[in-house]
């Protein structure tokens, strides 16, 4: 199987998972906000692609794609989304805080940008105890406007931390476009001012994006210094929830078309794979996750005794 086959299959897996949530959400089986990754799957898949044993990953509230791309077992994640007792966090975390402890994805925060400082501390630990492992932390372009992210870029540079700062730039902070929020003309230039090596890529050129990830991770492993990787992408559905939101008028549906035309799931020939492959895998994962959700709904709910456990 080629590298792209595995990568595409994982992207399909994530998209079908999210589509199953879209199908089930109105039944109220998931009683929490969900931030779907439809259209943005590739960032998480590539992060998992270059993730080695002993590496750490820190994400954010849009956590499904990262968790799915890392997990060997999907049931604990589904149970967590359903707030069941056997969920990965006992139902106390839910969609916005998914984790995959076996792969060192320990935590996702629902406060924008706040996972980035945590990642610097984990990187400090790895700097002291590992010759090759690193931390990859993903955040959106809205997070760049948070002071803690700017502080963390500085910490990464000053403390010489083995960390990959991955900016998932979809141009939106909920409904607010970049030009309203920021005077920056280049996020990479911002990182460069902190003396951080930068890489960039876009979903519009998947092969180049793949190479950028590969080079960025290689640079950190070899130099034990931080990098900043700017990834341009598009969010296809609403910020939180399951639907499209073109009717709100804050963006145009026509903007999406150029991203769909380069989407590797809708256009697998871009990466020399077939639509048949996509159809076959999509059908499989759709059925797989629908069955898993239906099965997991019958699992035990948390008990009152769980409320006060693991507070301190």
């Amino acid at each position: 199987m080629s590298n792209w086959e595995k990568t595409l299959e994982k992207a399909i897996l994530i998209r079908e998972f999210e589509k199953v949530i879209q199908k089930l959400y109105l039944s109220d089986c998931i009683q929490s906000p969900v931030h779907l990754s439809i259209g943005q799957e590739l960032t998480a898949v590539l992060m998992s692609k270059f993730h080695l044993k002993g590496d750490h990953i820190v994400g954010n509230y849009r956590s499904h794609a990262l968790a799915l791309s890392l997990a060997d077992q999907f049931q604990p994640l589904v149970l967590e989304l359903l707030a069941k007792r056997q969920g990965v966090s006992g139902g106390k975390a839910g969609s916005m805080h998914l984790s995959v402890p076996s792969k060192n994805m320990m935590w996702t925060s629902a406060i924008v940008g706040t996972g980035v400082p945590i990642a610097t501390g984990i990187a400090e630990a790895l700097k002291r105890e590992s010759q090759e492992n690193l931390v990859a932390v993903m955040f959106g372009d809205g997070a760049i406007e948070e002071g803690c992210v700017l502080e963390s870029l500085n910490l990464g540079s000053v403390f010489k931390l083995p960390i990959v700062f991955i900016l998932e730039d979809n141009g939106l902070a909920i409904h607010t476009k970049k030009d309203v929020r920021s005077s920056l003309t280049s996020y990479s230039d911002l990182a460069k001012t902190f003396n951080i090596k930068t890489f960039s890529g876009t979903f519009k050129n998947p092969n180049h994006l793949y190479s950028s990830f590969k080079e960025a991770y290689k640079y950190v492993r070899e130099t034990r210094l931080p990098v900043f990787l700017d990834v341009k992408c598009s969010r296809w559905v609403e910020h939180v929830g399951i639907g499209e939101d073109w009717e709100l008028g804050y963006r145009s549906q026509s903007d999406l078309e150029e991203w769909r035309s380069v989407d590797i799931i809708e256009n697998p020939e871009i990466i020399s794979l077939s639509k048949d492959f996509v159809r076959q895998k999509s059908k499989y994962y759709s059925s797989f996750f629908l069955s898993m959700f239906e099965k997991c709904m019958k699992f035990e709910d948390p008990k009152k005794i769980d409320l006060l456990t693991n507070v301190t």
């Binding site: 630990a125 803690c148 963390s152 910490l155």
Partner: protein
């Protein structure tokens, strides 16, 4: 462990007690790291970290950028990775910059990981007073932070308590804020090692009234109890350490014996630990008198004259005790302003 960090039979200062305890922690566990703005400078955080970089290596006691917010997250990241970081703040006021990480993440990370993660992260914060510390270098947020499940807040006030607080702080893997007070550093006493962080410590014993003091107020109350003892009035005086696990039963036993309780807080009283203690005492059936003292309901002024009105003083504490005991206040002399306050000339 190096001998220089062992306790002796001599009286030691509050700052020396911190130095010894942290020295023992650093000697016994290489995972303990100390960081924060100025921790390795010549003043060594009021001498509590003197020569630590040379004793333990510059990589274990290190200076940082000012970024309090992110450096709190950095500490959490280290803590969940197996380290035992201690983040030092020269003034407690700066903890407000750390609240997001402390409250939204440190306090919740064990709960939301269903117990998989623990966060043995210690925050040292120093509260200032006097000689113009003013409104932003004098605050103590123990009540605010104690409101948060998942955090532990400690205010040791004696050399023995601060020694045992630090020595035992990593036995429980709980994110912990330890609030020291600038005016306590020169206080001296003998120190006896114990195996756990005390929840509350008894400063003096008596049958006439129960007193519960917090932080530097413990010193002020001691001046009052010494005066009263000369007149035959003996006080059960407790100094509160652990705000997150209140030892109400001990206070209740004492107050049931004496019939009245005065709580002397080192903070504003609205939504305070003093009022929480008062409420819990009532809930547990105490029917005697309870009074509380704390900051005046305004920011701390820079003017020394106004500052003297802002804090509870030995005199105002004495006045409250007299009121609770039904004694005429004028019978006693006004008590002088405490020496550690009068003598303090800054600059910091």
């Amino acid at each position: 462990m190096e001998n220089k960090f062992l306790l002796t039979n001599e009286e030691i200062s509050y700052s020396k007690a911190i130095w010894l305890a942290l020295g023992q922690l650093m000697s016994n566990d290489k995972k303990v790291l100390i960081y924060g703005l100025g921790v390795d400078d010549p003043k060594a955080m009021y001498e509590t970290l003197s020569h630590f970089p040379s004793f333990f290596g510059a990589e274990r006691c290190f200076d940082t950028p000012l970024s309090e917010d992110s450096l709190t997250g950095y500490g959490i990241g280290l803590a969940i990775s197996g380290f035992k970081p201690i983040h030092v703040h020269q003034r407690t006021d700066f903890l407000l910059l750390c609240c997001n990480q402390l409250i939204n993440i440190a306090a919740k990370i064990k709960y939301l990981s269903n117990g998989d993660l623990s966060c043995p992260f210690v925050i040292r914060a120093i509260t200032g007073r006097s000689w113009g510390q003013g409104s932003q270098h004098s605050q103590s947020f123990h009540s605010m932070f104690a409101n948060m499940p998942g955090l532990r807040v400690l205010t040791p006030s004696t050399p023995q308590d601060v020694f045992n607080t630090y020595l035992n702080v990593f036995k429980d893997k709980i994110p912990t804020i330890i609030i020291e007070h600038r005016m306590l550093y020169k206080t001296k006493s003998l120190v006896k090692q114990v195996e756990n962080i005390p929840k509350m410590t008894k400063i003096s014993s008596g049958e006439d009234i129960t007193l519960c003091s917090i932080s530097h107020m413990t010193l002020e109350v001691e001046k009052v109890t010494n005066t009263l003892s000369k007149k035959g009035i003996l006080c059960d005086h407790f100094s509160l350490i652990d705000h997150s696990n209140l030892d109400i039963d001990t206070l209740l036993k004492s107050a049931n014996k004496t019939g009245s309780l005065l709580i002397i807080d080192h903070g504003w009283l609205n939504c305070s630990i003093a009022h929480t203690i008062s409420h819990l005492m009532r809930q547990k059936g105490f029917s005697g008198s309870i009074e509380t003292l704390g900051y005046s309901n305004c920011p701390c002024p820079t003017s020394r004259i106004l500052e003297n009105y802002f804090y509870p003083t030995a005199t105002s504490i004495l006045e409250s005790i007299c009121k609770l005991l039904g004694l005429p206040f004028l019978e006693f002399d006004q008590l002088p302003i405490s020496e550690e306050l009068l003598n303090f000339k800054g600059p910091f």
